[in-house]
């Protein structure tokens, strides 16, 4: 890592109510790369994202994005700074049209962006399936199309860092591949990506860096291929057999 990291997380402490999930989480995300976070259930992966994105308050610690302190900023301020967050599961507005769902991705810019219609058109160009269903209710899209919609919406403000949580859940292998390919394309254009994936093997295979999180602590951070081939990691998280990875 010769370049400054895009994101620096230092000693993050956060949790729900009296329960502390993150107790001093520290890591860095290299710029212009794909970093995959793996770890067992309950390791605090999603909690890290929620805390980074201002949905959960950091009780202690510091988050630095592109050299600027962004600890505990509101989502709107983080979007303005250039971070977007695509959470796990389905995160669309089912009764609004596909077009209007994407349009809401630009809400953080207020009325400041005059080229919003062009940006929405560009987002629709990227995903032909969405263009085809431009005016139908988003709730009628397939699971994969909904995920594409979320990604298209997240990219509307040209983020510098994408936090994406379990993009492959519930998608067919073909769509997973397509989604991953799209993320690589973004990376090639200079966008940094921090991704959580259950599907650790294929995620690491397409990533530049791997981060192993356990009990809210960074256990390992290295090049993705090294993590992928580390026997300890293999046993712990990647599963010795196919049957175990399904869990």
């Amino acid at each position: 890592m010769s370049e400054e990291p895009i994101l620096k997380v230092e000693g993050l402490v956060a949790g729900y109510g009296k329960m502390t999930i993150l107790n001093g989480t520290t890591f860095e995300v290299p710029k212009g790369s794909i970093t995959t976070v793996i770890g067992p259930n309950g390791a605090g992966k999603s909690t890290v994202f929620k805390t980074l994105f201002g949905l959960l308050r950091a009780r202690e610690g510091r988050v630095e994005f592109a050299g600027r302190d962004v600890t505990n900023l509101e989502p709107r301020a983080l979007l303005e700074a250039g971070i977007c967050y695509v959470p796990q599961g389905r995160n669309i507005f089912p009764e609004l049209s596909v077009f209007h769902n994407i349009e809401l991705g630009g809400i953080a810019a207020g009325r400041g962006l005059s080229d919003m219609p062009a940006r929405i058109e560009k987002a629709l160009d990227r995903f032909p399936a969405l263009r085809e269903k431009r005016d139908v209710q988003a709730g009628t899209l397939s699971g994969g199309q909904q995920k594409q919609l979320e990604i298209a919406r997240g990219l509307l403000l040209d983020p510098k860092l994408i936090l994406i949580d379990e993009p492959s859940i519930g998608l067919s292998p073909l769509l997973v591949e397509e989604t991953f390919r799209f993320l690589i394309e973004q990376r090639n254009q200079g966008v940094s990506i921090l991704m959580i994936e259950q599907n650790a093997r294929s995620a690491l295979a397409m990533s530049d860096w791997g981060l192993v999180l356990e009990l809210g602590q960074t256990r390992m951070f290295d090049r993705a291929d090294i993590i992928l081939n580390d026997p300890r990691v293999g046993q712990l998280f990647l599963g010795g057999s196919l049957a175990e990875t399904a869990a």
């Binding site: 989502p75 959470p87 609004l96 209007h100």
Partner: protein, 292 residues
């Protein structure tokens, strides 16, 4: 046939008013899980406030009505959210619902003690009189009430679907967490729905009070009717609440004439039971998928 036509028009007019209340009811439910059991009192009070302002402050009626509207929006739009919903919602949906019941009693008794226990004449904002339609004498006022209420609902629907602010409000109602993730100022959107609810209540109040007179106890029937209209319509749709309002208004008026005026409110309740048993998601609602 003549009577049926008259009842039909009267039913549509009261139905449109119930729809106003039911739409506000579903809006605040959607954006902040508030089951407002004081909704009927919300419709009762603005008329009483306007009369009180006229009598106590010796204002001309139009000025009293404007003053009452502003006061009501502040107290029961902004104040209701800040001082009742926000603090109570932290404790859950049920404590909040019970708090709104307490509020309904407070509003009712407050109107009785503060203004009058008697029913008072409320000046009609629309012309009185009748005209002939297919041989039946139809009340001009009923038609005007219907037109005004429907215009308001159509305007609201256009705002919600055709403007970005309206769509942002819808998005907040459909999924507040995701709205926040996209940078929507969720609190402001919720406040907006409370103000719209209060505004709809004021309009409903000024429309219904000339028909049924302004009285502290008016909220009981209106609240129940709006509640039934919202459930029948599907509880999460403006269109549903509108359809529900018409159904309840028509059933209510027809039952009063053809069954028994004493049992008129019981018939919509029967309708509610039928819907809960056989179509719990309502006419236009979708089944709620809730995860905790």
């Amino acid at each position: 046939m003549d009577q049926f036509l008259q009842l039909l028009v009267a039913g549509l007019a009261t139905g449109a008013i119930y729809a106003l209340a039911a739409i506000g009811f579903t809006l605040v439910w959607q954006t902040s899980q508030t089951i407002n059991f004081a909704q009927g009192e919300f419709v009762m009070l603005p008329a009483i406030l306007a009369l009180a302002a006229r009598d106590l402050l010796h204002l001309p009626f139009w000025a009293a009505a404007i003053l009452a509207t502003v006061v009501f929006l502040l107290l029961f739009g902004l104040g209701f959210k800040r001082f009742l919903v926000d603090p109570m919602l932290k404790h859950g949906v049920l404590p909040l619902a019970i708090a709104t019941m307490a509020l309904s009693i407070l509003m009712k008794e407050g109107a009785k003690d503060g203004y009058s226990a008697q029913a008072a004449q409320f000046p009609s904002l629309v012309p009185e009189g009748t005209f002939s339609l297919l041989g039946a004498a139809v009340s001009l006022r009923d038609v005007a009430v219907f037109v005004v209420a429907i215009t308001a609902i159509v305007a609201l629907q256009l705002f919600v679907t055709r403007t970005r602010l309206g769509r942002t409000m819808q998005a907040t109602a459909q999924n507040p967490t995701v709205a926040r993730i996209l940078g929507v100022r969720v609190e402001r959107m919720i406040l907006l729905t409370f103000l719209i609810n209060a505004g709809l209540a004021v309009l409903a109040s000024y429309l219904i009070s000339p028909i049924y007179l302004a009285k502290f106890s008016n909220g009981e029937v209106i609240g129940l009717s709006a509640f039934i209209a919202a459930i029948v319509g599907g509880f999460n749709q403006v269109r549903g609440a509108l359809a529900g309002g018409f159904i309840v208004g028509l059933v209510d008026n027809l039952a009063a004439a053809y069954v028994s005026s004493g049992y008129r409110t019981a018939v919509p309740l029967g309708l509610l039971v039928v819907f809960i048993l056989f179509k719990p998601e309502g006419l236009l609602g979708r089944r709620e998928e809730r995860t905790v």
